[in-house]
């Protein structure tokens, strides 16, 4: 069974035009900046709005067919949607919220209640049963929203920016929950602006820019060969525009040597992954040919990693371990030496 999506829809100034599919058991993440039409895509798949042109089917069953006019409203589609703001029903308890989908489909009150408790157990929210939505923290609310969606045993689950509103610890918990609830019969579609989220959760990634798909692939594929500057930037991959001559890449202020590649001379985009760059206190001995002295513009310690933004001559983001960074014993704004192996620089035609 697969969810086949072929949608063209105008939303405000954006023309959404995407085609891809999600197989049962698979998790696909749609990545793009805010305003790219990602949420609207989810709304079209859910049936809250319709496609101007195109077709959406699940397992061969037509949900939306613009040319024939067939349209199945959300309540008839075997899906569940976890909204960005969780959309819990304020006047119902958590238990009644989770049971809502079942009750709406005619399940008797006691049976619905039992099932709600079961689902809450699974997601680890048992003690929330009698609480009211307004008293929940962000993480708790999301847990309830997910439980509510799972309770109806949907074939397709849609998530809008699932972890955006959570703090670090809630995010970690949510990620674990998300990974644990994957099932071979359910297709999951996530929409997010956070590339790391997408890379860690999804089996495949769909990158959307200005309403159109620019790349589809597994996380590994997309990181290894980001097809456009935009994709690289979205993934935080340090895209550097430059000029290639042979194996010398000129970046304006300085040059780097690049490894084997099949790209002809001319304008290129070089990808330097944050983890490929090493930082040293003094000029390193040995082999790396690409060494330069630079300054530290900013340091971001979060989620157990340290992200360092370097300044001139090559402003890139570098990722190191906390231990590694501490060993540098530098001050912010202090000087540091950076190096990167030629083989770690990926070049693509611009």
């Amino acid at each position: 069974m697969s969810l086949s999506i072929d949608v063209r829809r105008r939303i405000g100034a954006t023309q959404l035009d995407v085609q891809f599919s999600v197989v049962a058991g698979e998790t696909v993440a749609v990545v793009g900046p805010n305003g790219a039409g990602k949420t609207s895509l989810l709304r079209v798949v859910a049936g809250l709005i319709s496609a101007d042109e195109g077709r959406i089917t699940w397992g061969g069953v037509v949900w939306d067919d613009a040319s024939s006019g067939e349209f199945s409203p959300p309540e008839q589609r075997p899906l569940a949607y976890v909204f960005q703001d969780y959309a819990l029903i304020e006047h119902l308890t958590v238990g009644d919220n989770v049971a809502f989908g079942l009750r709406a489909r005619g399940v008797r009150r006691r049976r619905a209640r039992e099932r709600a408790q079961e689902v809450l157990d699974v997601v680890g929210g048992r003690d929330l049963l009698e609480r009211m939505p307004s008293s929940l923290s962000g993480g708790e609310a999301q847990t309830v929203a997910i439980a509510r969606a799972l309770a109806t045993e949907p074939s397709v689950m849609l998530f809008d920016e699932p972890f955006a509103a959570l703090d670090a610890s809630a995010r970690a918990h949510a990620r674990r929950l998300f990974s644990s609830m994957s099932s071979s019969s359910m297709a999951r579609l996530i929409v997010t602006h956070d590339a790391v989220e997408a890379l860690t959760l999804a089996d495949r990634i769909v990158v959307v820019e200005s309403g159109s798909v620019v790349q589809i692939g597994t996380p590994g594929e997309v990181i290894a060969t980001p097809r456009t500057h935009f994709v690289a930037e979205i993934l935080g991959l340090n895209p550097l525009p430059g000029r290639l001559r042979g194996d010398e890449l000129s970046l304006g202020a300085m040059s780097l040597t690049v490894g084997a590649h099949g790209v002809g001379d001319g304008d290129v985009i070089a990808i330097v992954r944050p983890r490929s760059v090493s930082l040293h206190r003094e000029r390193p001995e040995g082999s790396p040919r690409n060494v330069w002295r630079t300054t530290i513009d900013a340091v971001d310690r979060s989620d157990g990693r340290v992200r360092v933004q370097l300044g001139a001559p090559i402003p890139i983001a570098v990722e190191v371990t906390p231990a590694g960074f501490d060993a540098l014993a530098t001050e912010p704004d202090g000087d540091v030496w950076a190096s990167v192996k030629a083989s770690e620089i990926v070049v693509q035609p611009a």
Binding site: L48, P73, P74, A104, R105
Partner: protein, 270 residues
């Protein structure tokens, strides 16, 4: 005032002054009325059959009006707030026009449409033998015409405010539009509906001009308390004052019983 009270919430002085001025504006006339009332004759008036009859009629009709206003007004409010009907602004203006019209004019409009020679009234009379003026239903119709807009406006604003992802989420969970309306939208809008109902009831209870014009005045059938008060003014001011007091007491009792929890919701404040 404790130190806490004095310093924790600093209110601009101009608001305090104007606010109290407004309080005085409302309270002083009521107090003056209370002082003027010849309380010694109270027992004569309230045990008077005519007054009791008018009171019963007023309460009975105003409650029916409120129920009908909810039955008709909530769907209308929903249409205005949520549907895509073209010309919504115009429809809203028409439906709330009766709120702005002088009540007697509203009464004349009702006669012109539902009276014996009215556009619809004539048909009702000729074909069904139904005559509305001078009947108790006419009292309800007059009250409904002038009071329902209060409920429509209040509830419309409630529906507009409650629209959002929660209702969409309900649909994605498998709820039909009607299930969403009854289980999600209505409960969320309940404060607005109650507030609107209170306003409607109050307006219906005090309604005079449209009632006397369309329904007339006949003891037991169409003589409501406001009409009785007005007529008492013509003959015996003291009686009028005492009957007014009955209305004031009833209104105060009801409003206090409902407490600020409902009346405060009129402005959207919970």
């Amino acid at each position: 005032m404790s130190r806490q009270q004095r310093h924790d919430a600093r209110v601009p002085i101009i608001l305090v002054v104007l606010g109290w001025l407004a309080v005085a504006f409302f309270v002083v006339p009521i107090l003056a009325l209370v002082l003027r009332v010849p309380w010694s004759s109270l027992s004569d008036v309230i045990t008077d059959d005519a007054t009791a009859e008018a009171l019963t009629l007023s309460v009975f009709t105003s409650v029916i009006t409120t129920v009908l206003a909810i039955v008709l007004g909530v769907p209308l409010a929903w249409l205005l707030a949520r549907s895509n009907i073209p010309g919504r602004q115009f429809i809203r203006a028409l439906c709330t026009l009766s709120m702005v019209l002088p009540p007697v004019v509203a009464g004349v409009a009702l006669l012109a449409s539902l009276g014996r020679r009215g556009v619809v009234g004539e048909i009702l009379d000729d074909w069904l033998g139904v005559r509305l003026p001078f009947t108790m239903p006419a009292v309800v119709i007059a009250q409904l015409f002038v009071a329902m807009p209060f409920l429509v406006l209040t509830v419309e604003s409630g529906f507009a405010r409650s629209a959002g992802t929660v209702e969409e989420a309900a649909r994605t969970l498998g709820a039909s539009p009607w299930y969403v309306f009854t289980r999600v939208t209505l409960p969320a809008t309940q404060p607005a509906i109650i507030a609107g109902a209170v306003l409607t009831w109050a307006r219906a209870l005090g309604e005079f001009g449209a009632t006397i014009t369309f329904a007339g005045n006949f003891p037991g059938t169409t003589r409501t308390l406001p009409i009785a008060t007005y007529l008492a003014l013509e003959s015996d001011i003291d009686d009028a004052l005492l009957i007014s007091m009955v209305m004031v007491v009833i209104s105060v009792v009801i409003l206090v019983a409902l407490r600020s929890r409902w009346v405060g919701a009129i402005g959207g404040v919970r």
